[in-house]
């Protein structure tokens, strides 16, 4: 089994929005994208065709990076959390409106190493790339998902075999998803972790996996201007002291290759 990263067309494509549904605190946006297809973990740079700008503080201006959460039936799905002017505009898109899309971009997840079961660990809207990953994994895969509260935790219904943790204990385990992960790994270390979520969560996952010597692939996030390696804006420090561009060297990067995961390298908290 192997997923090859798809190559994007070298221009923004106007794609039509086909649906926009509420899922707890999030929005599941669907766009018509027949050419599509992508590896789990790849992302697209999206901007509304109309009214991109003129929001809070006269923004947005640059496109926004969004993980492809699903690709099926000629549609790409995105899971969105409204955290600022860009996501706010994308969250209000109505069917029939169009988005400019550049993608799919970046290096996605590699299949788990032979003999290791995949364990998906997501935090908040960071579950997006895990959705498509779970779709692509042959066997059912356990997903450990952490959310701030119950409203957000409703997004857990988008995945299968889920164990939930919430900060406020309103659903599932009260505490962090890293605690759930520790339990799982203490039972069975023959796992490979696939994680995406806020910086502190990713750092906890990285540290834990490093300690328990479990391989982990982390889907990072970073403030991005371009998404295709042009601006050198999205770097995170690698273990060897160099900088990696999240958009072309990632977004999925082996935990081993990374230094500490910083505050800005994760999904919205």
């Amino acid at each position: 089994m192997s997923w090859s990263s798809a190559t994007a067309k070298p221009e923004r494509r106007p794609l039509e929005v086909t649906a926009n549904e509420r899922v707890g605190s999030y929005r599941l946006l669907r766009v018509h994208d027949p050419d599509g297809g992508c590896a789990p973990g790849q992302f697209a740079m999206l901007a509304a065709e109309q009214h991109w700008g003129g929001g809070q503080d006269e923004r947005p201006f640059l496109p926004r990076a969004l993980s492809v959460a699903r690709h099926r039936g000629g549609e790409a799905h995105f899971l969105l959390e409204d955290v600022g002017p860009g996501t706010s505009r994308l969250c209000e898109l109505a069917p029939g409106e169009r988005v400019f899309s550049v993608g799919p971009l970046g290096r996605g997840f590699r299949p788990p190493q032979p003999g290791r079961r995949a364990l998906l660990v997501g935090g908040g809207v960071g579950i997006a790339p895990l959705m498509i990953l779970q779709d692509r994994l042959a066997a059912a895969t356990r997903a450990l998902l952490g959310f701030r509260d119950g409203e957000r935790a409703r997004a857990a219904e988008l995945m299968l075999d889920v164990h939930v943790a919430t900060d406020d204990g309103s659903v599932g385990h009260r505490g962090t998803v890293a605690e759930l992960l520790r339990r799982e790994l203490e039972e069975d270390r023959e796992a490979e972790v696939f994680a995406c979520g806020p910086g502190p969560m990713l750092e906890a996952v990285r540290a834990l996996c490093s300690q328990l010597q479990v391989p982990a692939q982390l889907a990072l996030e970073a403030p991005m201007a371009c998404g295709f390696g042009a601006c050198f804006g999205c770097v995170v420090p690698a273990r060897d002291g160099s900088y990696l561009r999240v958009c072309v060297d990632g977004p999925v990067i082996d935990a081993e290759a990374l230094g500490e995961v910083g505050e800005y390298a994760g999904a919205p908290a």
């Binding site: 070298p10 923004r12 201006f61 400019f100 550049v102 971009l105 371009c226 601006c231 160099s242 900088y243």
Partner: protein
């Protein structure tokens, strides 16, 4: 629509701004076809320095109204690695110009270099001169993200003197990329011309700053790892137009105009005030096909 620039033939007048398009990375994202039908008529490299540079710590970008601030800090592998590893791959870039069926032409390579002394700059220029894959050299005397470079570009006398020292190092077209953070930019352009530049390019980014969203009660701290950065995008377009117009009036050498260009109409305005070529920077981040699109729009404008 093909144009002559300092004796080089370009498929159209739209090129990229230095540091805003990485042809090799783009090739990974978009496939090798990109280098066969490149969106720009010439390819300008990111700024290359003698020694490798890591660049500034993140975060490196910040979005502002109608633009962005970058504090990238000129990361690059250094001259030798650029020449040994990148140059061979960049040598054969071609383009069909602004339309799918256009004639296939070579995409000349402009290497942008920066040094903190005239000697360093001369060494960089000499090295470029020895490589025939390099069609032209652009001197970055203007990048506001780094301590060096800035002063040379903002002071006409110093600029003229530095150029005098390195002009002899190459017969290739020498483009001086001016700094916009100067009291009298046209005077700097005239100094570049007197120093022997074959062309000038402008504008580079405007010195700018961003603060991180402040936590309750706390004093806000700089957001960018490099503390300050450079402003680009539509926000600077009217400043660019003024500077390009003022420079084009004063020099006889060709001018490469840039700053906030998003469309053929914007490119057209720079050409109308006297630019010979137009470079696109930030807009490529919003649309990797911006170069070709703008060349196409420019064609239908005429």
């Amino acid at each position: 629509m093909s144009v002559d620039f300092c004796g080089l033939e370009l498929a159209h007048p739209v090129i990229n701004g230095s540091g805003t398009f990485d042809a090799l990375a783009a090739c990974e994202a978009f496939g090798a076809g990109l280098l066969e039908d490149f969106p720009f008529a010439a390819y300008v490299s990111k700024t290359i320095t003698l020694e490798p540079r890591r660049g500034n710590p993140p975060p490196r970008v910040w979005e502002v109204p109608a633009g962005m601030i970058n504090s990238i800090g000129l990361p690059n592998k250094g001259l030798s690695s650029y020449l040994a590893n990148d140059l061979p791959r960049l040598a054969g870039i071609t383009t069909r110009g602004h339309e799918p069926g256009g004639e296939l032409r070579g995409v000349p390579l402009f290497t942008n270099v920066m040094g903190s002394t005239a000697a360093e700059l001369r060494e960089l220029v000499e090295a470029c001169d020895r490589h025939e894959e390099i069609a032209a050299v652009e001197l970055n005397v203007s990048c506001p993200n780094v301590q060096t470079g800035l002063d040379i570009g903002a002071d006409p006398d110093q600029l003229r003197a530095v150029l005098g020292e390195l002009r002899g190092a190459t017969g290739k077209p020498l483009v001086v990329k001016l700094t916009p953070n100067a009291a009298d930019v046209p005077a700097c352009a005239v100094a570049a011309e007197e120093g022997g530049a074959d062309a000038v390019s402008l504008i580079n980014t405007l010195r700018a700053m961003a603060l991180a969203p402040a936590l309750d009660g706390a004093r806000a701290r700089p957001w960018l790892g490099g503390r300050t950065g450079g402003l680009s995008g539509p926000a600077v377009r009217a400043v660019a137009l003024a500077q390009v117009a003022a420079v084009a009036e004063r020099v006889r050498i060709p001018v490469i105009g840039m700053g906030g260009v998003q469309s053929g109409a914007h490119a057209r305005q720079l050409l109308d005030v006297g630019a010979s070529l137009v470079a696109v920077g930030t807009e490529s981040f919003r649309d990797p096909g911006a170069g070709r699109r703008i060349a196409r729009e420019l064609q239908s404008e005429r």
